[in-house]
């Protein structure tokens, strides 16, 4: 019966049908489960089934889940924080600092999807110590890993063979005087240790999978991921429900494009007065280079080649000073690019061949790779950040200062402001609140009065200024004239171009880009890069890259845009492979490769991909990225 639905009689002769039927019987034991259609609403009759996650295929009507115990263990805390990054940890630390100062008891629980704090952290990074100085004035004595003060700052405009130096005048946003080159993963790990010493309960390896709501619609807390669900969505013997963590206030610090934040935007209509967020993808590698080429404290940035003037992006190369001759380098591509044939990963690999870059890397060894999406929207894209029962902190709402290429200091400050706004309210004897979950609008007021706001306001026009005929050059002129002279005091606010996912032009209107083959010394192929990220997931679980409609990738993404997800995913998760039965293609999702960068959720032109959190402790194993 299943076979007839896939091969309607009108298309094949009787002999052909018999042939196909015979083939099917022979291959029955070996054919992958995707080939057999399942009568769910989540796939059409002809498309093989891809998505089995319970967020798309609900379990309450699923016969395989009948009689399975779905009750969850629940626990109460004062504050629950989702995400162990700079924002989440700074908020936790600040809360405990206040609690200890004022001798009050406060239970702060932090959940983090990575197996250890810092394992999913990836950034350049040049850290501006402003927020850290406010959090821990004695950070040096405490051993914070800020070992590399910036000594040289170099900016280049690259052409295919040459380099045009751009003077780094003081006052330009990316001037790095007074900053430190850090390995953010190590810095975050250090923050985690400080937080634990202060009494924060940190639970790495447990992902927040669901937001819980009170009856009045305010946020009650979160529930961690269920474990032990098989790839086809059925329960395994080891199935166990996640746990509920209830709190008076829940802070969401999931980083750029968090999946719970995505839900919250819809639930509380937080984005009604701001522009849709725009993003970029950042790819990074760490290299052990020849000692003779090592110049600790040197910061290099470039724009131009290999990107054309209308594609926003650029590179960074930082020389670390931590004993070994290490450099952290990477490439950022704005996700508002229009050509579906563009591959950010391959642009990165080809950029490394530029003589100015290659001379540093020659003779060196690549030891790490990773990627992550980052915010580019700035001031125009800031949503409302508080709602009954919770608030958004860090890169989740998006406080990154794009021209400065820094977001860690603002993320930390936002976490600290959140903590300072919450503290009096959660410790008050009388929880004067209209809603069961505490609403703390003071956080948003404090943000608007802080240096975060001033900083983001002053650079608000730089990124949108790239949307002009001259692209990059127009943007550089704008920055040089208006920012350097006026410091953002111009009375107008430029707009971004809209949703990144809507920017792709159909493939037939664009030319394919010929990328050079990786040479195995400076540039590498995708799969060996993914292996270096140490990423892994439990194989027998539903793919966490869920599709709202399984038939859309082939019908829309492949047909109109030539399957851009094959190119923008930095981990090779998406592949269009020929159907085993011969005609046509199907989308294969290699969920185990995912590095949790969130680019697919952002850039999918059909907005059909919904990234949800996999079983906790899955994902990359970055070490000091």
């Amino acid at each position: 019966m299943l076979i007839h639905t896939m091969f309607p009689a009108s298309r094949y002769s009787i002999q052909a049908q018999r042939c196909i039927r015979a083939l099917k019987t022979v291959k029955a034991d070996h054919a992958p489960p995707q080939l057999y259609t399942w009568r769910w609403k989540c796939s059409s009759a002809v498309t093989p089934r891809i998505t089995s996650h319970y967020t798309i295929c609900p379990r309450d009507k699923d016969p395989r889940w009948e009689g399975v115990e779905m009750e969850r263990f629940a626990d109460e805390a004062d504050v629950v924080i989702v995400g162990g990054g700079p924002a989440g940890l700074s908020a936790a630390i600040r809360l405990k600092q206040l609690a200890n100062e004022q001798e009050k008891d406060l239970r702060v629980c932090l959940v983090e999807k990575a197996s250890q704090i810092g394992a999913h952290t990836l950034s350049g990074a040049c850290l501006e110590p402003s927020a850290l100085n406010e959090l821990f004035s004695d950070w040096k004595e405490r051993g914070a890993p800020l070992n590399t003060p910036v000594t040289e700052d170099v900016f280049s405009l690259l052409t295919k063979k040459y380099r045009i130096p751009v003077p780094m005048l003081p006052g330009l946003p990316m001037n790095n005087h007074g900053n430190y080159i850090v390995r953010l993963g190590h810095f975050v790990r250090w923050l985690g240790e400080q937080a634990e010493e202060l009494g924060v309960e940190i639970y790495p390896g447990y992902a927040a999978a669901e937001v819980l709501f009170h009856e009045d619609g305010s946020v009650k807390g979160i529930a961690t991921n269920d474990v032990g669900i098989a790839k086809d969505g059925s329960p395994k013997d080891v199935f166990e429900r996640g746990m509920e963590l209830h709190a008076k206030v829940t802070l969401f610090g999931e980083g750029c494009h968090g999946h719970l934040a995505k839900q919250l935007y819809r639930q509380f209509n937080l984005r009604e007065n701001c522009e849709p967020q725009t993003y970029a993808i950042g790819l990074k590698e760490v290299w052990l280079i020849d000692e003779k080429k090592w110049r600790p404290g040197r910061v290099e940035h470039s724009v131009g080649w290999p990107l054309n003037r209308n594609t926003y992006g650029g590179s960074f190369l930082y020389h670390l000073n931590e004993g070994e001759p290490l450099v952290a380098l990477g490439f950022v591509v704005g996700l508002d690019y229009t050509n579906p044939y563009l591959s950010p990963f391959r642009e990165f690999q080809r950029w490394k061949h530029h003589p100015f870059i290659a001379k540093t890397l020659e003779g060196g060894n690549r030891i790490a790779y990773g990627a992550r999406a980052l915010n580019e929207g700035g001031y125009q894209c800031l949503p409302k950040v508080t709602f009954p029962g919770g608030m958004l902190i860090g890169c989740s709402p998006g406080f990154m200062n794009v021209p400065k290429i820094k977001g860690t200091h603002t993320a930390m400050k936002s976490g600290m402001l959140a903590a300072e706004a919450i503290f009096p309210k959660v410790t008050a004897k009388d929880l004067a609140s209209e809603t069961a979950g505490l609403h703390v609008p003071e956080y948003e007021d404090n943000l608007k009065k802080s240096w975060i706001w001033k900083e983001l306001y002053s650079v608000r026009n730089i990124r949108p200024s790239f949307h002009n005929y001259f692209g990059l050059y127009g943007g550089m002129v704008y920055t040089g004239v208006f920012y350097w002279i006026l410091r953002g005091k111009e009375p107008w606010t430029l707009k971004h171009a809209g949703l990144d996912s809507a920017q792709l032009r159909p493939a037939k209107e664009c030319t394919a880009i010929e990328y050079p083959k990786p040479d195995g010394k400076l540039s590498f192929d995708l799969l060996s890069s993914v292996a270096l990220s140490g990423t892994n997931h439990e194989g027998d679980q539903p793919p966490h890259l869920t599709l709202k409609d399984d038939s859309v990738p082939v019908a829309n993404n492949l047909a109109i845009y030539d399957g851009p997800e094959q190119r923008f995913c930095p981990a090779g998760v998406y592949e269009y492979v020929p159907l085993e039965t011969g005609e046509g293609m199907r989308l294969q999702i290699n969920a185990q490769n995912c590095v949790h960068c969130k680019t697919c959720d952002i850039k999918d032109p059909s907005q059909n991909i919904n990234w949800v959190v996999p079983e906790g402790s899955g994902g990359p194993a970055y070490n000091g990225m």
Binding site: S115, G185, T224, V227, G228, V238, E240, I367, N536, N623
Partner: protein, 253 residues
Amino acid sequence: MSRVLVGVKRVIDYAVKIRVKPDQSGVVTDGVKHSMNPFCEIAVEEAVKLKEKKFIKEVVAVSCGPSQVTETIRTALAMGCDRGIHVEVSGKDYEAMGPLQISKIFAALAKKEEASLVILGKQAIDDDCNQTGQMTAALLDWPQGTFASEVTIDGETVKVVREIDGGLETIKISMPAVLTADLRLNTPRYATLPNIMKAKKKKIANMKPADLGVDMVSRVEVLRVDEPPTRLAGVKVETVDDLVAKLKANGTI
């Protein structure tokens, strides 16, 4: 009646790419993701299953190493062990620590705790030694059921189905005994968050090898650690003649 000792080892996670230290003395471990050795997880699961079936009363998780191994012991406690023992070994002793020292520690602990069973993983995924279980049994002069894919307790004896090269071998050994877990023994349960929280209240005792009368001096000295040689690219040939010519030029024939 019975108490079971389970050994858990903290090793570099299997999915992480290993890097050899520049001085070739070992591999880089600082900041690298570690987790419980997969075979030790299976051992813990088996011990907890035996306790759930009421064959044994108490499961004690043991690990040897620096302070970080307490995380591994906590995971074992979250899976259902009752208490933990952390044998502190750090620095040069930890780097030189091998199956001989571990088995001496386990033998001493098995006697001290009056254990009826010692269950270990068959091997660790970092050194692939496959020696600790066997050495422990020898030191204690206890029978051993290694590469177990099925364990059944029957009164004072244990029936062990072992995975061997030729297939499966079933043996009956008397308790007390040492068992080592192979892959197909069971599917380990997840250490869920409520259990991790409960595990924080379970006791982990601290002790040093000297307290057990064990000397950690190694009889093995690591001279050098190298990466495996890079695989040379293959060459495609068009015809059989080409193949023969290439093999001749190579000196193979």
